[in-house]
């Protein structure tokens, strides 16, 4: 029982990371209706940016955290302006190819940084390697921070989408771009902002993940597991992304423990295939059909 709880907690921590990346994917899906395959790489860039701020610029952790999130937000806006906007309105797969290209370039360029790119780094966070004992339960502080931060971030995002002007405008644009445009909502500028927001969330995911794993150029591969998370939750549903992430994370942790070796790596993909067969719209997805 205790063991199961332990597995669920560590799975949930991992799942929160998937959920945060999936959150970015869902945000982008809601505005541009495509999947970004570069999101894992944005997370990787965020982790490296945090590393750079702490190691090279000598910032304390909290300042580096804020600086990284801001920098990645600006980067997201710039990325949207430079390469995404020119191809808006093209078929969905065009953007998929584009983001795959962006991912390649990001990974390649980071690997090319002399002496840093090919190494594996640890991010020196203040809560590194601490453990809480709650009864017989051993809680890893890094994992607790991930779960708590995800909760806070979700609340903040919920408040933003519910109560602020720009949040409501984003919702409108994601429901019907054309109608939103007619209502005078600056859809293009919002798209840029959404990319910035998605990149910032990815950066936070990267900073949270960094103490648990390490910082290295290929850590973006985890972004490929966030896609199943987004599908399971239902592409287009923000709470769904977090729930999907938790489902994927916990299934992965449980199958790593209870099933033979090898099942851990494919568990997310087995879950997503099952989900696509049973309920393609995901747990929270709306069932919509295109009408002619």
């Amino acid at each position: 029982m205790l063991q199961a709880l332990q597995i669920v907690i560590s799975g949930a921590a991992q799942g929160c990371i998937y959920g945060l990346i999936a959150l970015g994917l869902v945000l982008i899906y809601k505005t541009t209706e495509t999947v970004s395959f570069a999101h894992g790489e944005l997370m990787m860039l965020g982790a490296f940016a945090g590393l750079g701020f702490m190691m090279l610029a000598g910032f304390p952790f909290w300042l580096a955290f804020v600086a990284t999130v801001l920098a990645m937000g600006v980067f997201g806006v710039a990325l949207e302006r430079a390469v995404i906007r020119p191809i808006l309105g093209q078929p969905a797969f065009t953007l998929v190819m584009l983001t795959i290209g962006i991912g390649y370039v990001a990974r390649g360029l980071v690997t090319m940084i002399p002496a840093i790119g090919t190494e594996t780094h640890t991010l020196p966070v203040p809560y590194k390697d601490q453990i809480w004992n709650v009864g017989a339960l051993v809680l890893n502080v890094e994992q607790m921070v991930v779960i708590a931060a995800t909760g806070v971030l979700c609340a903040a995002l919920y408040a933003m989408f519910r109560y602020t002007r720009v949040g409501v405008a984003m919702q409108a644009a994601s429901q019907n771009q054309l109608a939103a445009y007619y209502m005078g909502i600056p859809v293009r500028r919002l798209n840029g902002l959404v990319w910035g927001l998605a990149a910032a969330v990815a950066a936070i995911a990267g900073l949270l993940l960094a103490p648990i794993t390490f910082v290295y150029a290929n850590m973006g591969i985890i972004g490929l597991k966030a896609i199943p998370a987004a599908v399971v939750g239902g592409f287009g549903s923000l709470p769904g992304a977090i729930v999907g992430g938790l489902v994927i994370g916990i299934v992965e942790a449980a199958s790593g423990f209870y099933l033979p070796e090898g099942f851990k790596d494919i568990a997310p993909y087995a879950v997503v295939l099952l989900m696509l067969v049973v309920r393609p719209n995901g747990i929270f997805g709306d069932k919509l059909r295109k009408k002619v």
């Binding site: 771009q177 087995a270 997503v272 696509l276």
Partner: protein, 358 residues
């Protein structure tokens, strides 16, 4: 300028539309047949790889370029074909039979993947094939009695009635014949009702359905044919490398394949070949260019990935019809000189087409 005056219906059906086609493709075939005596051994090996990737590319082109279904797990089908071939040739089956079996097994797997994929569209299909690809690679790695696991598996040279194609020369000709046959098969398929149905599905599922095209059947068929070609390509790939292991068929290979057809020119048969040429020669070009770059850039390990990504971004942004599209523009420019206008191939801008809207 060339004007085609059609005087019989046969001219509509013929594959070679005019004398120029006959001349240039004839010349190409002659050059390919003479190639082993014209180029060095190294380039012959590269040429063999180009032919193998072209066969796979044709399959993926049929699926993505002509049916509008995207697959991010096509390397898995190559893997299925390669392991089937390795097992059968290892058991002493003559290679044409083994190759056919590789194609059939791949096609069967393709149908299995295609079935759940029928319920989902567009981006979801890409995700389903991605997930499938991961699972297949894991199966390759774990099913050790069959595949040799992560340690890999050796592949015997192709054999037929005591004759063994163990030299590079004979294997090159096997690849050439397979590639030519595959091209002719796809060309013929595309002008048949089935092929027309594929293109109709690509252009609009709703209108295809209302014209009486059975979506599920044709999508599954497209998946099966595409997987079969990938499997045959995989069989050749196994023989060429003589050694196969699971990581050769992972997601990176799948993305390379998609990159190949996008760069080559999506929606054209030429694109599969041009893309294969790009994919095989690009690492050589990068390797050559390394000597001229400063050491910080040239010797960095991530250079190839960065260049691939940049090329992909450049093509998506500036030339969505790929290398073949660029050639079409150049040819039109020359044909109608001096009347070429800048906007002749301009993409139609549209507001975001939504599948979600009610």
């Amino acid at each position: 300028m060339r004007f085609l005056f059609k005087t019989s219906y046969l001219q509509d059906v013929r594959l070679a539309k005019h004398g120029g086609h006959v001349f240039w493709y004839g010349l190409l075939v002659l050059a390919m047949v003479a190639a082993p005596w014209l180029v060095s051994e190294y380039w012959l090996a590269q040429l063999t790889f180009i032919l193998i990737y072209s066969v796979v590319g044709l399959g993926l082109m049929l699926l993505s370029g002509f049916t509008g279904l995207f697959s991010l797990g096509h390397a898995a089908f190559i893997g299925v074909g390669a392991y089937t071939e390795a097992a059968l040739v290892g058991a002493g089956v003559p290679f044409p039979l083994a190759m056919a079996a590789a194609g059939l097994v791949s096609a069967a797997v393709g149908v299995v993947v295609g079935l759940p994929a029928l319920r989902v569209k567009g981006i979801y299909l890409a995700i389903a094939t991605l997930a499938f690809g991961f699972i297949v690679v894991e199966v390759f790695a774990r099913w050790e009695s069959m595949t040799g696991g992560n340690a890999g598996k050796h592949v015997k040279p192709p054999e037929l009635l005591g004759w063994s194609a163990d030299s590079d020369l004979s294997f090159y000709f096997i690849c050439l014949v397979v590639a030519v046959l595959a091209t002719l098969a796809i060309l013929n398929l595309l002008r048949s009702p089935t092929g027309r149905a594929f293109v109709a599905i690509r252009d609009s599922e709703v209108s295809a359905q209302s014209l009486g095209i059975h979506l599920a059947r044709y999508k599954t068929l497209s998946f099966a044919i595409s997987a079969a070609l990938a499997g045959i390509g995989g069989a050749l790939y196994a023989h060429k490398l003589k050694f196969i292991s699971p990581e050769q068929f992972d997601i990176l290979q799948s993305i390379d394949l998609v990159l190949m057809i996008v760069v080559g020119g999506i929606g054209s048969i030429h694109g599969a070949f041009l893309g294969a040429i790009f994919l095989i020669t690009m690492p050589q070009v990068i390797a050559q260019a390394k000597d001229y770059l400063p050491a910080v850039v040239g010797q960095a390990p991530g250079l190839q990935g960065a260049v691939y990504g940049l090329v992909l971004i450049a093509f998506v942004l500036f030339e969505p019809h790929g290398i073949y599209g660029r050639w079409l523009k150049l040819r039109t420019y020359l044909q109608i000189f001096p009347f070429y206008r800048k906007g002749m191939f301009k993409r139609q801008k549209s507001f975001l087409k939504s599948d979600r809207l009610k």
